[in-house]
Amino acid sequence: MLVLLTTVGGRRFALDCADVVEVLPVVAHRRTGVGPRWLMGLINVRGQLLPLVDLTQIVDAEPTALRLASRIVVLRLEGELFDGAATRVGLLVPELAGPFERSFTGEGVHPGFAFAGASHLGPTVADEHGMVQLLRCRRLLEGDAVLRELPLGGVDGTDGGRGG
């Protein structure tokens, strides 16, 4: 599978390109001031307002200052968490590389742990640079009901201009 690789707090994670809509440079965001600490605010992506979440704070690493290499990955999320509808969310990552081909099945793959609240952490493989863990993007925000209360914009069905 084609993945984008990022390193947070010295740990390497892989994002499945199937969930990625596009990659953006860091743009200005409007802070919410309320909600979970990883919810940074709203960003304007070509006229559409999407919530911006910080991966660093989701995976419980020390928050880092914005850098030139920082990227916003626009994810398309769908599943039972969102009542079957699709939504788009901006994910702030400290750096990004790829896309690369990686396989998370078969021999040498660790399937990951099944603790409550860890469902977004997928299987782990080792490559020439070390261990890479797959992030299940659709589970990233699981367990945080607050996000569900947010008026999420960019539902897939109405996003006729995707890729345009």
């Binding site: 084609l2 984008l4 390109c17 199937a18 990659v23 440079p25 990227r71 990004l96 896309p99």
Partner: protein, 706 residues
């Protein structure tokens, strides 16, 4: 020395004459006046008291008498009204009467022999034998007796020697002679052992005297009442009736009170206290009282007078009044000695207090005057000693703060001040004598030294001429030094000109250096512009990279159809990465160039600083040379000053010569003055000797023993 002053003229004598004698006279006058007023008060009050008391007692006794006579008349009236002859009933009535009237001693009734015709019947029921007299005659007496049953005893009436049958015969005679039925009061007499007064009324039935009814009163009752008053007043009271009198004086009253308090029997054996007026020691009082009460007219009028006992000559105050019922006379006597006793005591104490006061006054005055007198005498003695020139006495011990003490102290101070003044004068005289001797000696010396001074001035003139020659040589030396200094100044001026040329060259070098610096800064600005371009290139490369990533993602999503596009995207990404690397290299080279330029600028700055320091040092050297030149110029001025002062010195030497000549002339003149001065010093010594004689007249304390 002090001569004595006569006592009547001394301070003590005068203070006693002027202070004590008037005070004593005043005190005596006050005491006398007080005594007179006390006497007046006592006599007036006593007179009033005696009069009132006498009147009161007399009225009281009169009322008693009236009451008792009324009782007697009531008994007689009962007989006349039909009780006559009913002997048993009469006895019961008498008993009732006595019981009902506590002040009555007894009651009696007596019939004429067989007046009721019952004599023959003798002792019948209710009439005991004790009630009957001779021949069965009714002759009853009921009297109190605590020992008898019922407290009363019935006895037979008896004639006693003393009364001479008065109680029966007197009313009978009065009725039969003049028809008087008024009750009578007998004189006091002793009846059956008790001193009594009897009130007797005649019983007249059918115009015929048939008997008497009597009520007895113990004499002690009257005596007790009168005695109380007599005791209170401190006098004696006498009651006179029909030529007899009874005393109610203090002692008699006390005895009578005892008798009254006890039983009647207790008084039974007491002797009769009545005395006949005639021949008694008091006969003259009653005679005077009789005369005055008669003269006074109406009964009850109170007479009072001051009487003298014709036998002893004692004065007494006497008050007399008549008691109408019974025709008694009440006489009160108070001895003047008793009146004046209290008064004398008052006067005595007054006199004693006054005497003590006067004595204290005299003692105080005498003490005060003696102290003052002593001090005044001491002051006088001191003053006389000072007048005679004796100042040797020490300070006098004085206590107190009054004027005399202050006088003594002032005299002491004066003495001490005089002594110290004379001492100081003597010291000054001694010093003056010494000084005048020294003065004479020194004037002689001065004369000698004036001669020496003339010689010295000649030597000084010679020495001054030598100084003048030496100063000319000195002037030559100074001028040679002046020439050397001029040459030095010239070479210093040449060095300074060369240094100025160096300074100009260094300024040109500095300007070139600044030019180089400006050009290096232009290079640095260009390098910064190149950096900006490189950043732009790097941004474009980054955008390209992002674009390629997104393209790759899209290609992946397109599946098989996107495979070719995926390859293109990868190529683009590779190009972008190369661009990024190239721009990084350019940025690095530009950075190195910038660093070189910066280092060049720093070097140039450091060189500029060095240059500036060199310029400064050249300037300092030039300034120092200028300082040397100025100093040499200054020395020229100084040498000119030296030359001028040398000339001035020569002038001064000439003036000194002239002055020395004048000094020599002055020395001659001062020799003459010193001779005159010596004469004056001799006169001063003579005057000092006179002053010392005058001071020697006083004798000071530390010389007192000599």
């Amino acid at each position: 020395m002090a001569h004595d002053v006569a006592f009547h003229r001394s301070l003590l004598g005068r203070s006693i004459l002027l202070g004590v004698v008037p005070a004593v006279a005043l005190v005596l006058a006050v005491v006398g006046l007080n005594a007179y007023r006390a006497w007046r008060n006592v006599t007036v009050q006593l007179e009033e008291d005696l009069t009132q008391s006498t009147e009161l007692v007399a009225r009281e006794i009169d009322i008693r008498n009236q009451r008792h006579t009324e009782l007697a008349r009531a008994v007689a009236a009962a007989q006349e009204a039909g009780q006559f002859g009913r002997r048993a009933e009469t006895l019961r009535m008498l008993e009732t009467l006595v019981r009902a009237n506590p002040e009555i001693h007894g009651a009696s009734i007596a019939y004429e022999p067989d007046a009721d015709g019952n004599d023959a019947a003798g002792a019948t029921a209710g009439v005991p034998a004790e009630a009957l007299g001779e021949g069965g005659r009714f002759f009853a007496y009921v009297r109190r007796d605590p020992k008898a049953p019922g407290g009363l005893r019935i006895e037979t009436l008896q004639d006693v020697a003393e009364d001479e049958g008065l109680w029966y015969a007197f009313p009978k005679q009065r009725f039969e002679r003049s028809g008087v039925r008024e009750p009578v009061i007998t004189k006091p007499y002793s009846y059956l052992g008790t001193d009594i007064i009897e009130n007797v009324a005649p019983i007249v039935v059918g115009g015929r005297f048939v008997g008497i009814a009597g009520v007895d009163v113990a004499l002690s009752a009257v005596q007790t009442r009168a005695g109380d008053v007599a005791r209170r007043l401190g006098g004696e009271i006498y009651i006179e009736t029909r030529g007899w009198f009874v005393a109610a004086s203090t002692d008699a009253a006390a005895a009578s009170a005892d008798a009254a308090a006890g039983s009647t029997d207790a008084a039974a054996g007491a002797p009769l206290r009545t005395s006949a007026v005639a021949g008694s020691a008091l006969a003259w009082i009653f005679a005077e009282a009789e005369g005055r009460t008669r003269a006074g007219g109406a009964a009850g009028g109170v007479q009072k007078w001051l009487a003298t006992d014709p036998r002893t000559g004692d004065e007494s105050y006497i008050v007399a009044t008549r008691i109408p019922t019974g025709g008694w006379t009440l006489v009160l006597r108070k001895s003047m000695a008793a009146v004046t006793a209290g008064l004398a005591e008052t006067v005595f104490w007054n006199m004693l207090t006054s005497a003590i006061g006067v004595a204290a006054l005299v003692a105080l005055l005498a003490g005060g005057a003696a102290a003052i007198s002593r001090r005044v005498r001491a002051a006088r003695a001191l003053a006389e000693r000072i007048a005679s020139g004796d100042l040797s006495s020490g300070s006098t011990e004085v206590r107190g703060r009054d004027e005399s003490a202050e006088l003594i102290r002032a005299m002491d101070r004066m003495n001490a001040d005089l002594a110290s003044m004379v001492g100081a004068m003597r010291g000054a005289c001694a010093r003056l004598a010494t000084s005048s001797a020294q003065l004479a000696a020194s004037s002689a010396e001065q004369r000698a030294s004036a001669g020496g001074l003339g010689e010295s001035t000649a030597q000084i003139a010679t020495a001054i001429r030598e100084i003048s020659a030496t100063s000319g040589e000195l002037l030559q030396t100074v001028e040679s030094i002046d020439g050397g200094a001029r040459r030095t100044a010239e070479s210093a001026a040449r060095g300074r000109a060369r240094l100025d040329a160096v300074a100009t060259a260094m300024t040109g070098l500095d300007r070139s250096t600044r030019d180089i610096e400006d050009r290096l800064e232009v290079i640095a600005e260009k390098a910064a512009a190149i950096s900006t371009v490189v950043v732009t290139i790097a941004k474009v490369a980054e955008q390209t990279n992002l674009l390629s990533v997104n393209a790759a993602i899209e290609a992946e999503k397109a599946g098989e159809a996107g495979l070719g596009f995926l390859v293109v995207a990868r190529e683009i990404r590779r190009l972008a990465d190369q661009t990024s690397g190239a721009s990084f290299d350019i940025e690095r080279i530009v950075g190195q160039m910038h660093a070189s330029v910066t280092a060049g600028v720093e070097e140039m700055s450091r060189f500029t600083v060095e240059m500036e320091r060199g310029t400064g040092e050249v300037g300092a050297a030039a300034a120092e040379l200028a300082e040397i030149i100025r100093a040499i110029d200054g020395s020229f001025t100084a040498f000119a000053g030296v030359r001028a002062s040398m000339a001035g010195q020569a002038q001064g030497v000439r003036q000194i010569e002239a002055a020395a000549t004048q000094v020599a002339a002055g020395a001659k003149q001062s020799s003459v003055v010193a001779a005159e001065f010596s004469g004056v010093a001799d006169e001063l010594a003579h005057a000092v000797a006179v002053l010392q004689d005058a001071a020697a007249r006083f004798r000071l304390r530390d010389e007192a023993g000599r």
